[in-house]
């Protein structure tokens, strides 16, 4: 079945350093989604990428979708303590009548002030 893998599992950075998490799928994806979960909170949808090679920015966050639509990355420039949390990528699995996302296990980001 479809698998989505994320690396690294954990990342500790000094405040102000950059951070990148990578996502790889075993199958070609129609889109890739990214979520953020703050400690003690629930996952929150950040963005969806659809096109091959697509790059989208949200302030200090840059999201990329690979040319083959099997990998993606999230890059945070100059991390802040508000960036702390776990970042998940997810790819859709569509069967007749049903739709579900396969989530990576996430990258937990810690930011040292």
């Amino acid at each position: 079945g479809q698998q989505v893998m994320q690396i690294p599992q954990y990342q500790h950075v000094q405040e102000g350093e950059d951070f990148t998490t990578y996502c790889n799928s075993s199958t070609t994806l129609s889109n890739i989604q990214w979520y953020k979960q703050r400690p003690g909170g629930h996952p929150v949808f950040l963005i969806q990428l659809v096109k091959s090679g697509e790059v989208k920015k949200q302030k200090r966050l840059t999201f990329q979708f690979g040319e083959a639509k099997k990998n993606s990355s999230l890059h945070i420039t100059a991390t802040q303590t508000t960036d702390v949390g776990t970042y998940f990528c997810a790819g859709p699995l569509i069967r007749a009548g049903s739709y579900q996302l396969t989530f990576g296990k996430g990258t937990k980001l810690s930011v040292i002030p």
């Binding site: 909170g41 996952p43 929150v44 949808f45 049903s98 739709y99 579900q100 990576g104 996430g106």
Partner: protein, 111 residues
């Protein structure tokens, strides 16, 4: 998030008792999902629904059942709770190819 609520937020129950968790949405979304989240395992799909009375199993469905008699409600039942079902449970809603909106979660402890 507005539009989806889970109840209860916290529950402690004894081994062997049945437990029902409720997810309620006001967005009229077709798809609803139940996930559990455990350290080291990420989000694992328990069951999902693609319409009223249309449900299917996810990757960790053993010991769980679901029902969806109305568009807005999706119930998750632990038929006979075990300690291995201690977890945080999230409900989510979506439209096809859309992002998920998650509920705030239910922290369940089975003692």
């Amino acid at each position: 998030d507005a539009g989806i609520t889970q109840s209860p937020r916290h529950k402690v129950t004894e081994t062997g008792t049945p437990v029902t968790l409720r997810c309620h949405q006001t967005e009229n979304h077709r798809y609803m999902y139940w996930y559990r989240q455990d350290p080291g395992h990420g989000l694992r799909l328990i069951h999902y629904s693609y319409g009223v009375k249309d449900t299917d199993k996810g990757e960790v469905s053993d010991g769980y059942s679901v029902s969806r008699s109305k568009t807005e409600d999706f119930l998750l039942t632990l038929e006979s709770a075990t300690s291995s079902q201690t977890s945080v449970y999230f409900c989510a809603i979506s439209e096809i190819l859309g992002g998920y909106t998650f509920g705030s979660g239910t922290r369940l402890t089975v003692v």
